[in-house]
């Protein structure tokens, strides 16, 4: 996998919220075509890392390069051009509740890619079918469907424009284990079909094992271990061992912090 070119290169990334230092000089490389899962406990900085990469947050310092192009501080049309390469499934799907399902999926196509409404509707129906939703659901609004179905629609929206890079923020959070496995298998299928690079943020080890080629462990705002998913059980890293076995005793503090939003 490391023979492939680097798709996303992150160097020395820092981000603080007031006195709370969430990311502390984080380095990470994601290679083209791979599926990387970033695991870590609550408040470890996983979501903040993801939001910095997609431009929702701006880091205090450091560099993020996508296809060799610096994206930190890039705004306006230049940022929109970069974002057209990306697709993202949010933790709670983040569907637009005033729009029917098909329009949620077609939104980026119509708004950012200039696809005509009728064509975008056709693509949306095809994407919804890919994630296992019937065509009779397409005119419903998000409030009318289950959380699991909303995740499917979120996934359909993420892949609608054939993005080069896919981001998944806690894809199995809030759904039962069976639906979690279904969503994971859909993610794997979609990533493989697109040939995309994927970055998944999760604290669900089973999900990480199903989705990822490689796993990175984030702890106190830094990547403390990276390796193939098959080697995660024999990482030799105390922090990884404690996390994947869910032990209370170990280097990972179980104290609850309240400063900042990580």
């Amino acid at each position: 996998m490391t023979d492939a070119p680097v798709k996303i290169a992150i160097r020395g990334l820092t981000k603080s919220f007031g006195a709370k230092h969430v990311l502390r000089g984080l380095d990470l490389a994601i290679y083209e075509g791979e599926s990387l899962a970033v695991i870590g406990g609550s408040g470890s900085g996983k979501s903040v890392l993801l939001k910095n990469i997609v431009g929702i947050l701006t880091p205090d310092s450091g560099s993020i390069k996508i296809d060799g192009e610096e994206v930190v501080g890039v705004t306006g049309p230049a940022r929109d051009r970069i974002n057209r390469k990306l697709g993202m499934l949010f933790q709670n799907a983040a569907l637009f509740d005033s729009l029917p399902l098909w329009e949620n999926v077609a939104f980026g196509l119509m708004s950012a890619h200039g696809v005509e409404k009728s064509e975008a509707r056709g693509i949306a129906i095809e994407r919804l079918r890919q994630v296992g939703l019937d065509s009779d659901t397409i005119d419903r609004v998000p409030a009318d469907i289950s959380v699991g179905a909303q995740k499917r629609v979120g996934l359909a929206r993420a892949i609608a424009a054939n993005p080069e890079i896919l981001f998944f923020d806690e894809p199995t959070t809030g759904i039962d284990p069976i639906m979690g496995e279904v969503i994971d298998s859909l993610i794997v299928k979609c990533v493989n079909e697109l040939g995309a690079t994927a970055l998944t943020i999760t604290h669900d080890m089973e999900s990480a094992r199903r989705i990822a080629d490689r796993v990175a462990m984030i702890y106190e705002g830094e990547i403390v271990w990276v390796g193939d998913v098959a080697t995660v059980n024999s990482s030799g890293n105390e922090i990884v061992d404690q996390f994947i076995h869910g032990r209370v005793d170990g280097p990972i503090s179980t104290n609850v912090t309240t400063a900042g939003a990580a």
């Binding site: 051009r81 974002n83 949010f90 983040a94």
Partner: protein, 257 residues
């Protein structure tokens, strides 16, 4: 010393908020003029702000006109100036009462709805989703609301002017036994173009402020349902205060000698 520090903190927070609002306003206004445009969203806001506000604005105007005729008649009767009732009603309605009362009613109805809708989108990550879909939230959410507010509140106020004057006419003619022709003649005789225009300019400013406060407080809301509730309250309160303060400034600009 703690007291001084507390005052300092309040001042710094105030200045930070003012700066954030100024930046938010500047970015939002710039997106009104830059493509791409979203005509469907603009039409939805035009209907929400204009058409659906008409009943509440109309009711406010008709009762205000009726009360104004009654009050001014009983006051002017003390020095035999009943003939000025029609003029007082039309000037009060067009210059002040229609724009201010319509503004306050629309602030309660539309400002709160905007803050709640955008605030919910913020706390459920829908605004973040817009960004990842290469869609600018200022352009998509804020610009259509600002434009619709500026355009539609003057339309509502124009209707309120007519309905308010009609309310005064009803009371004057049917309760106070004014001659209908004389009342209408007195209404038109002293009404000047600037009376109506100043009211409409006020309405455009109020419409902008209502939409701005609704969008701003919704956009920066946080903390789930409680945060959205607070954003809604803040949007209505701040819009109402700004309406009353800017009303004085616009009146000063138009009518100070």
């Amino acid at each position: 010393m703690n007291f001084v520090a507390a005052i300092g903190r309040v001042m710094l927070n105030f200045l930070a908020s003012t700066g954030r609002l100024a930046i938010f306003t500047g970015i939002s206004v710039s997106h009104i003029f830059r493509p791409p445009y979203y005509p469907r969203l603009l039409l939805r806001q035009v209907i929400d702000i204009g058409y659906y506000s008409l009943p509440v604005v109309g009711l406010t105007a008709v009762f205000t006109g009726m009360v104004l005729a009654l009050q001014s008649y009983s006051g002017f009767a003390r020095f035999n100036a009943e003939g000025a009732v029609a003029t007082v009603v039309v000037l009060s309605i067009t210059r002040e009462l229609a724009p201010v009362l319509a503004g306050l009613m629309v602030a309660g109805r539309i400002g709160a709805a905007m803050a709640a809708e955008i605030g919910t989108m913020r706390v459920t990550e829908q605004i973040d989703a817009l960004s990842t879909l290469a869609t600018n939230p200022y352009k998509y959410l804020v610009a259509p609301r600002l434009l619709a507010g500026m355009v539609m509140l003057p339309c509502c106020v124009l209707v309120a002017d007519i309905i308010g004057v009609f309310g005064g006419y009803l009371v004057a003619v049917h309760k106070l036994d004014f001659n209908p022709n004389v009342y209408l003649k007195n209404t038109w005789q002293f009404l000047e173009f600037i009376d109506v225009v100043s009211g409409l300019v006020k309405a455009a400013v109020f419409g902008f402020l209502i939409a701005l406060m609704g969008c701003y407080h919704g956009y920066y809301s946080k903390g789930g349902a409680q945060g959205v509730g607070a954003a809604t309250t803040n949007a209505v309160v701040s819009a109402s205060i700004l309406i009353l303060a800017s009303n004085y400034l616009i009146t000063e600009a138009f009518f100070s000698q």
